[in-house]
Amino acid sequence: MTTSSTSPKTGTASEATPTTGRGWFFGLGDRWNSLPRPQQWAWLVPVVVLIYALPLLNPPLLTTEPGTNFPLALFDVARFALIAIGLNVVVGQAGLLDLGYVGFFAIGSYVAALLTSPDSVLWHIPYLWTLPLAMAVTMVFGLILGAPTLRLRGDYLAIVTLGFGEIVRLLATIVEPLKGQVGFQSVGHPPGTNSEGNAIFAVSNGTPWYWLCVTITIIVLFLVGNLERSRVGRAWVAIREDEDAAEIMGVATIRFKLWAFVIGAAIGGLSGALFAGQIGFVNNQKFDVPTSVLFLAAVVLGGSGNKVGVILGAFVVSYIPNRFVELAAYKYLIFGVALIVLMIFRPQGLLGARQRLLAYGRQAYLRIVGKPEQLSSDSSLKGEGDRIS
């Protein structure tokens, strides 16, 4: 809070932007939110078109080649974005620390593998049907895990989910039909062949997979966005900010926490099924706890609670190891240190969460009192600390 000179009487454009002292870049979010909907759409369309065109453009500085195939790297980014959006519902919105998110991701992958791979003894269904099925199955697992544990104090949840992620991996190793390290070859993919008769959704062909994943991500983004603006979303924020207060105000905390957990799980399962399809091979090696922490790093790095933030975080976490291959071996070290440093210096992440409701409240306060109110903490990670210098 450096600027205290702003007063509404000056009549400048600053009215819509409660001065945050974060510079023009971070003020962008406020300016964006103050735009009318059609204008937001008008701005979004070219951005989305650009995102879709990326694998074809293969821009020189951005490209990950020759290290990694660029469309595949982009698919990786899109997959991480989807995961981050899902985990953000749990961590960012409802404020529940889920360290076993990879478990849901793994279950989604195994659902896709078990029902499409020729190595599996179960009946087979078309690949695209496994996507909703993976979501349904992971929702059930989310319910099984969440129902007993969400009644507990928040930090127990962290360790229980961590254990859950590990159990899923161990069961994939021990239980024989899940084939451990041998895994499942040639997992299914969406139908369609090109003019030469090759499958469009081949393992090596990243572009269609990227488009599919981006499309799904955008759909999920819409659904989750609507959910956040609904009664459910408000309940989540209330729980995140102060669970006891929320409970007293009549929010059914356990039910809404369970909702967040289950919805997050479903998105995790969906991304797992997508991943299984693209890689075409599922075994127990890809679902370890470090991966789970990488997912968490994506959410926290970008700014938990902020959808644009977590997508940025997902981009950083997945793109950097692909772009700078020499750093790939150290990615866990780098992101581990990044988490510590971030919590100390910028706990709200690169792009902190701004809750619209609270922003309205601030504007109203501004009009009545005539001076900017202290920026209240509206991220699960933004403590009182910022005011204590």
């Binding site: 544990t149 360790i159 254990g163 933004k382 403590g383």
Partner: protein, 343 residues
């Protein structure tokens, strides 16, 4: 099949669950025949869990923080044990040393490990947690920092020593000492169990009988009031991390004794989760609970492993126990408290 159990082999020795012949099998026969040896070995493992669990439980008791990075404090100690013993000439085969020389070497290794682990724990508090406490950060930030610190240390070790475990260091060949219910107790199990119990008693006495321990309990009970009463809260917190680290260093020696080839960059992670489960099982924040929980978890894990027929089941059983305990009695067996009940 030992003769002693021949009369009571269950009629159904193998119960098959769910679909297919090889899904999950219960090997009741092996469970019965190995019951006592499992119990004894489980107690030895459990002592290691208990020592590590102490670090979790004390930090939790004072700060209400799950110090995820404690497992790395422990594994750094294991590295210290490995390097000291390697420098002293220990290797993949047990050395021929007199008992006095062997004990001297092991004590030296333990002291170095305690020192290293203690320093790492204190450094961790300084670098990662103290800035957050200064800023009065929310709990989620602490947890994320802890997990970040855990990974930073783990992968710093990885960058330094690579993914493969260090070569085994065998300290001594376990010799059978005596028998109970047909199960032999060997010198290794005896040493681990005995030393762990002694260390736990010392810690318990330190917390309950000394002036510093009283300060520690005071801060655990009510930090603000304790500060008003003249307890230096910061010093108590450092002390808590230090004691936890020292015990983890001791645990590291016993761990290397039990699992000679277990010194690996991520070797502490699962053990850490199990130790935390042990702390919760006994009642987090409760020192005696950590001992009880550790021993119980070691024994239960061993039973599960024999019953289900694969060593990897130990971890699954441990997690299931953790979830079960949290569901039925979230405060653990002995209840949560560091010394005394906190409201």
């Amino acid at each position: 099949m030992p003769v002693a159990h021949e009369g009571r082999v269950p009629v159904i020795s193998t119960i098959v669950l769910a679909q297919g012949p090889d899904w999950i099998q219960f090997d009741v026969e092996a469970f019965v025949s190995q019951f006592w040896s499992n119990t004894i070995d489980g107690l030895a493992y459990g002592s290691i869990y208990a020592l590590v669990a102490m670090g979790y439980t004390m930090v939790y008791g004072v700060l209400q923080l799950i110090n995820f990075a404690h497992s790395e404090v422990f594994i750094v100690g294991a590295y210290a044990v490995f390097f000291v013993l390697s420098a002293l000439g220990f290797g993949p085969s047990a050395p021929n040393l007199s008992v006095a020389a062997l004990v001297g070497d092991l004590v030296l290794a333990m002291l170095v490990a305690m020192l290293v682990s203690g320093l790492v724990a204190v450094a961790l508090e300084r670098v990662a947690y103290r800035p957050l406490r200064r800023r009065n950060a929310p709990r989620l930030a602490f947890l994320i920092t802890a997990i970040g610190a855990s990974f930073a240390i783990q992968y710093a070790l990885f960058a330094w020593r690579g993914a493969n475990p260090e070569p085994a260091v065998i300290m001594f060949r376990p010799k059978p000492v005596f028998e109970i219910f047909g199960a032999t107790i060997d010198s290794q199990q005896l040493v681990i169990f005995g030393a762990a119990i002694v260390l736990m008693i010392i810690t318990d006495m330190f917390v309950n009988r000394t002036r510093l321990g009283r300060g520690l309990r005071a801060v655990a009970q009510d930090p603000d009031t304790a500060t008003l009463m003249g307890v230096n809260k910061e010093r108590v917190i450092v002390l808590t991390f230090l004691i936890g680290g020292i015990l983890a260093g001791a645990a590291a020696l016993f761990y290397v004794m039990k699992v000679p080839a277990g010194v690996q960059f991520n070797g502490g992670f699962i053990l850490g989760i199990k130790a935390f489960a042990a702390a919760v099982l006994g009642g987090i924040g409760n020192i005696r609970g950590a001992l009880l929980g550790g021993l119980l978890l070691g024994v239960i894990g061993n039973y599960g492993q024999t019953l289900l027929g694969n060593a990897q089941w130990t971890d699954v059983v441990a997690f299931v126990v953790l979830v079960g305990i949290l569901m039925i009695r979230p405060t653990g067996i002995l209840g949560e408290s560091l010394g005394r009940a906190r409201v």
